[in-house]
């Protein structure tokens, strides 16, 4: 059986008008419903690649396929593509241009030529999903960065896309706002089957989130696979100026310097690490430890 790919990039290169080669022969494919993360350092070409997915940039060479059809760059087919592939930019100030939150979220649906009642419904729903309903009549400059990001997301969700492309969803956000956005994205993926494509350099969010990971460096994809596969290759990760998740790093040091016996792959998340630790010191020992602590002679 042939799995139908949602996106397929074939040998895509892109050169900016100043001569920099931003993408250098990228090939990748993505199935529906996946959560893909593009991981790479600043300037590795993540954003440029994302901008190809909804036809904002046209590859200098190579082809982009959406549902097995090559992208056409006519205004009609682009409008259709942009309805189905939503794009949330890194800086919400780039995206929020309207005088009020509601007006901004309505911009996309209105461009699709939907009737007013349907637009209002989409706007209300989108604002409800991101939890910004009470700010509908406020101007964007009243909001915090995290709130602006959620409104920018709502502006795209209101167009009911099938794919959501998000550039640095958690950059500059405090931990709480960042985890709020991530939970929201996971929920959208699980409840509505939204395919997610995120670019980030936040390594720690990868294992919690991604089903598929592509690592970019200098305009190329250097590694692809599941987070488990990729983070086992510590040397390569480090060679392209990235790192493993903190918790994985800790276990790696424990294995290397303290000769801790871990035969399986290293844990990537706190949950995995907890299980691993409990296994290593097995339960009997913990209970014994507790008892001796109470009696005060565990030294």
């Amino acid at each position: 059986m042939v799995i139908r790919m949602l996106f397929r990039l074939e040998n895509v290169s892109y050169r900016y008008s100043d001569g920099t080669l931003a993408l250098d022969g990228i090939s990748l494919s993505l199935a529906k419903g996946e959560r893909m993360i593009l991981l790479g350092t600043n300037g590795s070409g993540k954003t440029t690649l994302l901008l190809h997915l909804n036809g904002i940039l046209k590859p200098t060479s190579g082809k982009v396929y959406f549902e097995d059809k090559p992208l056409e760059y006519t205004s009609k087919s682009l409008l259709d593509l942009r309805r189905r592939v939503g794009f949330v930019f890194q800086d919400p100030n780039d995206q929020l241009f309207a005088p009020t939150v509601k007006q901004d979220v309505a911009f996309g649906p209105l461009n699709l030529g939907q009737p007013i009642d349907k637009v209002k419904k989409s706007v209300n729903e989108a604002l409800k999903i991101v939890g910004m309903s009470e700010y509908a009549d406020k101007p964007p400059h009243f909001l915090s960065l995290g709130q602006k990001k959620r409104v920018a997301l709502a502006g795209v969700l209101a167009m009911r896309p099938e794919v959501l492309v998000m550039d640095e969803p958690t950059s500059n956000l405090d931990p709480r706002a960042a985890s709020k956005i991530l939970h929201l994205l996971l929920q959208l993926n699980q409840e509505f089957g939204l395919t997610l494509i995120l670019a980030t350099h936040d390594v720690d969010m990868v294992p919690l989130f991604a089903t598929k990971l592509h690592i970019m460096s200098k305009g190329k994809i250097v590694l692809e696979g599941s987070p488990e596969e990729i983070f086992s290759n510590t040397e390569l990760i480090r060679s392209i100026d990235l790192r493993s998740p903190r918790i994985t790093h800790l276990f790696e040091i424990l294995r290397r310097k303290n000769h801790l016996l871990i035969n399986k792959r290293l844990p990537l998340t706190i949950g995995e690490a907890r299980r691993e630790i409990l296994e290593l010191i097995n339960f009997g020992d913990i209970i014994k430890l507790k008892r001796t602590t109470k009696e005060g002679n565990y030294a």
Binding site: L79, F89, F97, P99, K120, D137, G155
Partner: protein, 263 residues
């Protein structure tokens, strides 16, 4: 209070005052009709009525803090008072009111000139209060929709819409750049201040160009086709309020007509 700060405060008022949720069409109708009647009145009586009414509406119903409203009124009032004082002294003809005897000549002040000065002063104050009513109770978002309904050329509306939004973004950027310059002693002498300000202005200009480019791309990503469409879902004007305003205007017209010969 800096200019940018003042803008931001007025803007905040427009979104948070107690009349923010009522029909913008009604508010615009009230402000404009009162403004026209106030400016075209030959006597100070109508402008005074207008001023008192709008001020009451602003303070009692829109719940604008009195000290903020008065701080907004102070500077224009001072300027208008000076101008009108000059009008009173220099204008007029016919019946002299008084003569100011100066060592080298006599200055004649005419009754009609003083009346003109006083009328002008109240006209301006009346008009001012109407504009403040509009600006302090109606948000820009609502005003853009009203302008669209009034068939003002689209290009003007769309430009002001973008200017309005990005004005606040760039006020923030400018403030940050200013602080950054100050921290590196960029404003420590008069010469450095000139140089730093020039650099800041130039930099800001480039930033606006870049922002324009990025906003355009972001708008394209949401299906922009050269038209910014508005979601027009303003609350409908209430018949009672419209009738009330018409009634108020008719009274003003009546007052104007009955005082036209007295003054």
């Amino acid at each position: 209070m800096s200019f940018g700060n003042l803008c931001a405060q007025i803007d905040r008022c427009a979104y948070t005052n107690a009349l923010a949720k009522s029909s913008p069409a009604t508010k615009v109708f009230f402000a404009l009709s009162a403004l026209i009647l106030s400016v075209s009145s030959p006597s100070p009586l109508v402008p005074i009525i207008v001023f008192l009414t709008t001020t009451t509406l602003l303070l009692r119903f829109a719940k604008i803090p009195a000290h903020f409203y008065s701080s907004l009124l102070v500077y224009p009032t001072i300027i208008v008072a000076i101008s009108c004082f000059i009008i009173a002294l220099f204008f007029g003809y016919g019946e002299p009111l008084t003569e100011i005897v100066l060592p080298w000549f006599r200055w004649t002040v005419f009754k009609s000139g003083v009346m003109m000065g006083v009328t002008t002063f109240f006209r301006v104050e009346g008009a001012l209060s109407c504009l403040y009513f509009l600006v302090l109770t109606t948000s820009m978002g609502d005003i853009f929709i009203i302008l669209r309904r009034a068939h003002i050329p689209k290009i003007l509306i769309e430009m002001s819409l973008l200017i309005y939004r990005y004005m606040f973004v760039f006020m923030e950027v400018a403030a940050q750049m200013y602080t950054a310059q100050k921290l590196r002693l960029g404003h420590s002498s008069w010469q450095k201040r000139i140089r730093s300000t020039a650099l800041l202005a130039g930099n800001l200009f480039i930033r606006t160009l870049e922002q324009g480019e990025r906003t355009f791309i972001a708008m394209n990503a949401r299906g922009y086709d050269g038209n910014i469409r508005n979601l027009d879902d303003l609350p409908r004007p209430r018949r009672v309020s419209l009738m009330g305003i018409v009634f108020f205007d008719v009274i003003l017209v009546f007052v104007t007509l009955s005082t036209i010969n007295l003054w």
